[in-house]
Each structure stands twice: as C-alpha cells, then as structure tokens.
C-alpha cells in the first residue's frame, strides 16, 4: 500500500472510531488501534525511507486547496500521537468503561478518536488556514475530554481555564498565520528561510505555540487541566498535546527565517521552565498536579535543546547544534512515553483509592505491585537516570551544550548546563517523594485499605509504554537513525555532517549495567534468603508502636528544598494550634498556589474588572451625564489639536 493509502486508511479509521465511540466500544477500540497502527506505519515509512509525502486536493475547503504533507518532522511527532493514542485507548477500556461511567464513557471514546485525528491533521496540514482549523478542533476535543467528568466544579473550572488560555494562544496563531499570508500572498506553508522580512513573525509564533507547550509564564492552564482530566486524557494531553506546541516551534523555526536572539530567548524560556517546573513539582501534594508541573519542567528541558539548536544554526555550530536539536526531539518522544506511563500509573492509583492526595495514600505496593513497579520504572526514566530512555536524551543534550561551551562558552550556555543539573536533582527529589509517599511505607488513611490492582487493559498499556522506555534506553541508535532523517527536513544544510555521538557504546553500557542490576539484586536477595529473613516492626529507634501517621509526609519530605524556592512558590498555610490541656481540634492546611495565575494574572484581571465596573457605573442613563461626557470629550480633542498645532 502506498503512503497516501496508509494515511487515508488511518484518517478514515479514526473518523470511524469517532462515530462508533458513542455506542460501540469494541468497534471503537478496533478502529482507534487500527488507525494508530496505520499512522505508525506511515510515519515510520517516511522516517525510514526518507521520502516526503505531499497531497493536494482537487477541490477546495474554505477557498483554499487542502494541502497535506508528511515529512521528517511531522512524522517524528506523528509516531508519538499514534503510540500514546493507541495505548491510551486500551487503557481507557479498563479505566473509563460504560459500567462505571455510563454518562460519559461514550463521549470520552468519541472525543478521544477526534483528538487523535485532529492532532494528526495538525501535523499533516500544510496550509495556514486548514492548520488553524485543525488546531482549533484539536483544542476543542481537548476541552471536551478534560470536562468528561463535568459534575465536579473543579473540573469545569479547569476546562474553562484551558479553553480560555488555549484561545489566547490561538489568537496569537491567527495573527501569525494571517500576517504570514498577508506578507507572502498565500496561505500555503513551506520553506521560506530566504524571505528575511518574515523574521519578526517568529515572536508571535513563540507566544501562540508557547501557550500550548506550557512554557513557564504561559503554563497557567496546564496544572489544573492535567490534574482534573481523567487520567488517560491527562496522559495524552501531557505526553502528546503539549508537544503540538513544540511541533509548531520546531516546524516554523525550520521554515521561517529567525530573528536575531531567537536562540537566546528560547534557551532562556527553557531554563526558566525547567527550573520553575521542577520547583513547583517538588512542592505539590497532589499526585497528578506534581506530574503536571513536571511536564512544564520537561518542556523546559526540550526548549533548552531547541534553543541551543537555534543558536547552532545562527552561529554555524552545526555539530553541537545538531546534537542539541536531536536531544530536543528525542526528549519529546521520551517525555511522551514516560509521562504517559506515569499518568496512567497515577490513574490506576486514583481508580483504586479514589484520591490523588498523596498525604492520604501510602503502602500501596502491597495491593498494587504492578502499578508500584511500573510507576517506579517511570520515575527512574523521568529522572533521566541510566539505563533508561530519559538519560539518553539528556545525555545528548549535555553533550551538545558542553561542546558548544567548549567552542566559545557564552554565559547563557554555562548557565543552562548548571540549570539542567539542578533541575535533574530537583526532579529526582520530586519523584522519590511521589513514588515513596504513595507506594511505600504504611497506608495513611482508610482510602488505601480497599486498594486493588488495576485490570489487564490498564496494566497492558502501561507495560507497553514501559517496554518502549527500556527499548530506547538500551538501543539508542535506533531513534538516532530516525532523528537524522527528521533533522534533515528541519535543516537540510546539516545532513551532510556526520559526527554521530557514541550512542552504540552508551547502549551497550546501558545493557551491561541493566544486566548487572538484575544479577546483583537477585544475588543479594538469594543471599538474604539463604541467611534467613525475619520480619519485625520498623526499628524507629526503639519505639515499639509506630503508627502510619508518624511517617514522613510528602510535605515534610520536600520542605528543605522547596523552602529555597519560597520566594516564587508562596505557599499558603492555615494553622490551628492545639490549645489547652485537652486540645480538641487542631489542623494545618498547606497549599501551593499557581503563582503566575493567582498572584500575577489574578490581580491584574481584578484591576481590569474594577476599571470596567467603574466605567459601567458612569453609564446610568442620565442625560446630563452624557452631555457632560460629550463636552469633556470635545474639550479633550480640542486640546489635542491645539497641542498638535503648537508643535
């Protein structure tokens, strides 16, 4: 079958899935899986053979011919859409079934297929007008998926915030595409690096796509949306949907000429997102919110790579620029995989216990060993620890940055390297906290008592994602091959340069280290068993009646490091101290607000609202008032004219 055939098949199947989803869950699952497999085939054909696919419709839609194009960059992101779209659909079968959610399961299935379809169309559209249409449909599908469980107030609020922020970004994209069309005279998109007058448009695109990508000051919608959505939806939003913003940045930085300083700004945004995302993640007490902030951090890491790539493009640093760019692309894949895995794991915890609040959980490994093991696996991957995939991409990024620093060592590159190291350590703290507080120790409340392991649908999809993480970890050469293809369509000038990083060595070492881990663990376990294992209470320095409430909580675990970031986290505390001889009630509630939203945008919005209210008060329907306004206006205009004529 030709490439076009596979894509047509995929789109048709996904459309079919969207129609069948409401009533026929099995048909829907088959259609969605078939569609995503067809998408994968198409994407890997393009990446493997290196041939672009272009198709133009004989008819027109909205006055423009539909122009679809599948090249290295869109194929790279298309694989991610397909993998998470497919595994998430399998997960949803166990997580959001008709029996448990009779009202919303059908809607959820239908919108899921629509979301995957629209993301594929965003990646394929090569006409500004249709790109905007697909983009808007994709944003709307996301909104309906986030608000599946719309009986809850928080969910509705999160949905509205997502919709508002998303449209602010779309507004930027409207400006971007229409200005582009006005200057080039056509909605058609394509390489136009030589038209240097288009360079300033990059800033508009950076805003528009940056909102979707969840970059630091623009991420306000992300935490609440990803927290309140059903977990499989959180997985695809966090793993894939925010990558659409990244796709836009990669795509248009490849096609358009870049303004001076673009690389620096992107690098700076990346550093800010990485550091702030990690700091906010560490301070969270809601499992899914922690994961959501961690997405901001990982987008920051990716942006550091993209920024260094842009710098390499501008400074002629082909070797390191290419490495950093490759790291950005690979980290986009990796983050998609392990973040989806972690969100699915968080989903099965939520499914089993009914709460996301980490301080209510604990000791879940006994009831849910698979989930605990897979979550720990995902945590190792996301902390960029060897021998898993996260390390491969961060290692590439470090290599690119180090090589760039050795070249001419601009301060920003040095700062980015240090920030990357600090971010890694913060992420490690955050994930030790998340994993340990939820799965280890003793259960803190009744919520953990009836916990149960998730079913095979959910387990299977998590296992598939974990398998992919391990595969990239031990075989990093395979994605590198596809990355070179993808980079060749980003910057054709770089394709001739071949100085591959020693990925084969790294892969072999990863394999050896992984084997050594397994052997050592088995040997130690056997030795312990041979010498006899006795089970006793935790020692606790001689105290013989430790209770679950005496355990360290997530808040206390993170207290030291998040204390260093108090200037930006601004935690809110409410404390009722115990009083008297027989203290009846005492409590302490701590909440980490979303600082940008609640401390910056909230007050700013309040000022606008107050000003509007004041203006409205002046409109009371009194004729004398309006005459006064007219006179005042005339006097003001007259004064302006006079001031103008004097000069």
């Amino acid at each position: 079958m030709t490439l076009g055939g596979w894509i047509a098949l995929a789109l048709a199947l996904l459309l079919g899935g969207g129609l069948a989803g409401l009533r026929l869950p099995r048909v829907w699952l088959g259609c969605t899986l078939g569609g995503t497999v067809a998408l994968l085939v198409a994407a890997f054909t393009t990446l493997g053979v290196g041939v672009d696919w272009v198709w133009q419709s004989p008819w027109s839609l909205g006055g423009e011919r539909v122009h679809l194009r599948l090249d290295g960059i869109s194929a790279w992101f298309l694989t991610l859409v397909a993998v998470v779209g497919g595994t998430g659909a399998v997960y949803a079968r166990g997580y959001w079934p008709d029996q448990a959610q009779p009202e919303s399961a059908g809607r959820g299935r239908a919108w899921w297929s629509v979301l995957v379809l629209c993301m594929a169309l965003v990646l394929l559209c090569s006409n500004g007008l249709h790109f905007l249409m697909a983009w808007e449909a994709f944003a709307l599908a996301g909104f309906f998926l986030i608000t599946l469980d719309r009986a809850r107030r928080e969910t509705r609020a999160a949905g509205w915030l997502y919709l508002g922020a998303s449209h602010a970004g779309t507004l930027g994209l409207f400006a971007f595409f229409s200005m582009l069309a006005a200057r080039t005279g056509s909605w058609e998109l394509g390489p136009m690096r030589s038209a240097t007058e288009l360079a300033p448009l990059f800033w508009v695109a950076l805003f528009g796509f940056g909102v979707k990508a969840g970059l630091f000051p623009l991420h306000i919608w992300l935490p609440s949306a990803h927290t309140n959505a059903p977990s499989h939806v959180s997985a695809i939003l966090s793993g894939v949907a925010i990558k659409m913003g990244l796709y836009g940045l990669v795509r248009f930085s490849g096609w358009l000429p870049l303004p001076k300083g673009a690389g620096w700004v992107v690098l700076g945004l990346g550093v800010a997102s990485a550091l702030m995302g990690a700091a906010f993640a560490l301070a969270q007490n809601d499992l899914k919110r922690l994961l959501a902030y961690c997405s901001v951090e990982n987008m920051g890491v990716i942006l550091i790579g993209l920024g260094a790539g842009l710098l390499g493009l501008a400074d002629g640093g082909a070797s390191w620029g290419r490495m950093a760019m490759a790291a950005a692309l690979l980290h986009a894949w990796n983050h998609g995989l392990f973040k989806s895995l972690l969100f699915l794991g968080a989903g099965s915890v939520l499914h089993a216990t009914g709460t996301r609040e980490m301080s209510r959980l604990g000791g879940l490994w006994r009831a849910m060993p698979w989930t605990a093991g897979l979550f720990a696996f995902g945590a190792v991957a996301i902390c960029a620890l060897p021998p898993l995939n996260g390390f491969v991409s961060e290692w590439l990024l470090y290599l690119g940055l180090f090589e760039s620093a050795a070249g001419h060592a601009p301060v920003a590159i040095v700062a980015a390297i240090i920030a990357l190291g600090v971010t890694g350590a913060l992420a490690l703290a955050a994930f030790v906290k998340a994993g340990a507080v939820v799965f280890l120790g003793a259960g803190r409340t009744r919520a953990t008592r009836d916990a149960h392991e998730c079913g095979w649908w959910m387990r299977g999809s998590m296992l598939a994602l974990a398998g992919l993480c391990a595969l990239i970890g031990v075989m990093p050469l395979a994605p590198w091959f596809f990355i070179t293809r993808s980079l060749a369509s980003w910057e054709p000038g770089w394709s001739g340069i071949e100085s591959p990083p020693p990925l084969a060595t790294l892969g072999l070492l990863h394999l050896a280290v992984a084997l050594a881990f397994v052997l050592a663990a088995l040997a130690l376990w056997r030795r312990a068993q041979a010498k006899g294992i006795r089970r006793e209470l935790t020692w606790d320095c001689g105290y013989s009646a430790p209770s679950a409430r005496m355990q360290y909580t997530g808040g206390s675990f993170a207290a030291i490091a998040s204390g260093w970031f108090r200037w930006v986290l601004r935690p809110e505390r409410q404390m009722r101290r115990p009083r008297g001889l027989f203290p009846a009630q005492s409590s302490r509630v701590e909440r980490v607000p979303e600082t940008v939203l609640e401390r910056v945008l909230g007050p700013a919005g309040g000022v606008v609202m107050a000003a509007s209210a004041w203006v409205r008060q002046r409109q009371r329907g009194h004729l004398p008032d309006y005459i006064l306004y007219l006179v005042a206006g005339l006097v003001a205009v007259g004064a302006l004219v006079l001031a103008g004529s004097w000069r």
């Binding site: 340990a436 280890l440 120790g441 130690l524």
Partner: protein, 302 residues
C-alpha cells in the same frame, strides 16, 4: 586477553581497596584524639561479619528494600569503573562518559532514598529528605566542576579531562570538590558518621533498618563512593597524563591517602554544622567550582 586482565585488576582495586579508606580516616581521627582506635582493616571485618548474618526486614518493606542497595552498589561500581585509574589509564573512553558517571551516582541516590522510605519511619524520611535536598546543591557544584575541567581540556571525556596539568584554578577546584566529597559522603561538617543521635544524621539514618548482607552492600558501596570522589579529586588536580607507571601509581595512592588524612583532620577539628548552615557551605562549594570555571574559561590555567 590483556583487556580482560586489566578489567579484573581495575575491578579488584575498587572492590578490595575501597574499605581501606574509611579505616585510614578513623585511624587519623584516633591519632589526633590520642586514642589507639580501631584497626585499619576494621571495615573488612565488619563486612565479612555482616555478609554471614541473617536479615531482619521491616514488616512494611517491599522487595525494593533489598533491590535498592544492590542497584545502588552496582551503580556506584559502574561509575567507579568509568574513572581512569592513574597509570592504568581508562578502560572505556567515549564522549560524554563523565555525564554517565554523574548520573549513575544520581541513580544510586535514587535507590538509597527509595529503599530508606520503604520502612515508613520518620527517621529514614528525614535522612532521605536531607539527602535529596542537599544533592540539589552538590549536583550544581559537581556539574560546574565538570564544566570547568571540560573547558580546560576542551573535551567531554574523562580520560582527557583528568589528564591535563594543574594550574591556579585547580586550588579552587580542589577546595570545591573536597567540600563536595565531604557532603556526598556524609562526613563532618555535613553529617557525623559516629553520632548516636538519629535525628541529626543523613546517610546513617537512611540505612538504619538495613541488616545482614544488604547492610554489607550498603557499607561497601559507601566506601567505594568515598574512594571514587577521592580519586576524582586527586586526578582533577594532578597532571596524571604526564606521569606513567610507578610514578603515577605512587602519586595516586599518595594523593588519595592525603585526601583521607584531610577528611580525618577535618573530622577531628570541626564539629558538625547545624543543618541551617549546610546549604550555605554547599553554596560556597558551588561558588568555588564556579570560580574555577571562570578561571578555566578566561584561560588562567597555565
């Protein structure tokens, strides 16, 4: 064939000689205090004894409690094997091996803290919280030191980075790395390995509930980590690329012994800092490394 022999020698050095360093430090401390102190080989006796003992596990602990120390031990050993070893040179050199080293140590940290939290004890929680928090600052210092070495040598390979000669900036680098060594290995003034107060410890409190063979693995891993940082420090400062054979071996052994004596003297003369002051000291280490980086960058190494 010779490659295998060389690998085995390297493995033997790390596995067999590592427990010597804590013994040396304890001897120095005893000497300063005017005591006789435990024998230099004490840790070997302890390890042998622990390896033969049975295991007491917390009722709350999952299999991860035993897997954690094993993985952490392998990770530290793997990181150690990446280091060049004086005259033995480097076994496997590739671009970016230094980053693998740093992240293998991070993996060891992940596993140690994970296993610590298995027990559900507040003491272990405290230790783990301190470990991961202070690691944020030490990580910054280590990465900066690596960057300084990389800028000086123009390479991202440990073999080349650690081969070149010393200069003015290396004093700063040595001071920074020595502080990092103290912090990462939980020595005074960051932590007191001899204290009996669990409330004030970092590393020792994380391993309170380990016993038997897993505890032996934990202790051996800690000794290897100490030796790793000592070797890294010595090789970062001294020009091992210019010495070969016996001279290099003597310099390496002498340097590591000197670091051990230094740790012992610091422990004898300083008290443990209050935890509030620890971040300040670590920031100082970071700044020292940063200044070393500036010196390297502006070409001050001669």
């Amino acid at each position: 064939m010779s490659a295998i022999v060389e690998f085995l020698v390297r493995l033997a050095v790390w596995l067999l000689l590592a427990p010597l360093l804590p013994g040396l430090i304890n001897k120095v401390k005893a000497w300063v205090a005017g005591r006789r102190g435990p024998p230099v080989l004490q840790l070997y006796y302890d390890l042998a004894r622990l390896w033969r003992k049975g295991v007491v596990l917390s009722t709350l602990a999952s299999p991860g409690f035993v897997v954690g120390p094993a993985v952490a031990w392998v990770a530290v050993l793997g990181a150690a094997l990446l280091l060049p070893l004086g005259p033995l040179g480097i076994s496997l050199s590739f671009r970016g091996d230094v980053i693998l080293l740093v992240y293998l140590l991070a993996l060891a940290r992940f596993c140690t803290t994970w296993a610590a939290l298995e027990t559900g004890s507040a003491f272990e929680g405290m230790g783990a919280a301190r470990e991961v928090s202070y690691a944020v600052l030490t990580e910054a210092a280590v990465i900066t030191a690596v960057l300084a070495l990389s800028l000086r040598s123009g390479s991202v390979e440990l073999g080349t980075m650690l081969a070149s000669s010393a200069g003015t900036g290396s004093v700063l680098l040595a001071a920074g790395l020595f502080t990092v060594l103290l912090a990462e290995n939980c020595r005074v003034p960051f932590d007191d390995p001899n204290t009996h107060l669990e409330l004030t410890m970092i590393h020792e409190v994380m391993v309170l509930d380990h016993s038997g063979p897993p505890l032996a693995v934990v202790l051996h891993g800690a000794a290897m980590k100490l030796l790793l940082f000592a070797v890294l420090l010595v090789e970062a400062v001294l020009p091992f690329g210019e010495w070969s054979g016996l001279g290099g071996a003597v310099a390496l052994i002498g340097g590591v012994a000197l670091v051990g004596v230094g740790v012992g003297l610091v422990e004898s003369w300083l008290a443990r800092y209050a935890f509030k002051r620890v971040p300040l000291l670590l920031t100082t280490a970071f700044l020292l490394c940063l200044f070393a980086l500036l010196v390297a960058w502006k070409g001050g190494w001669s």
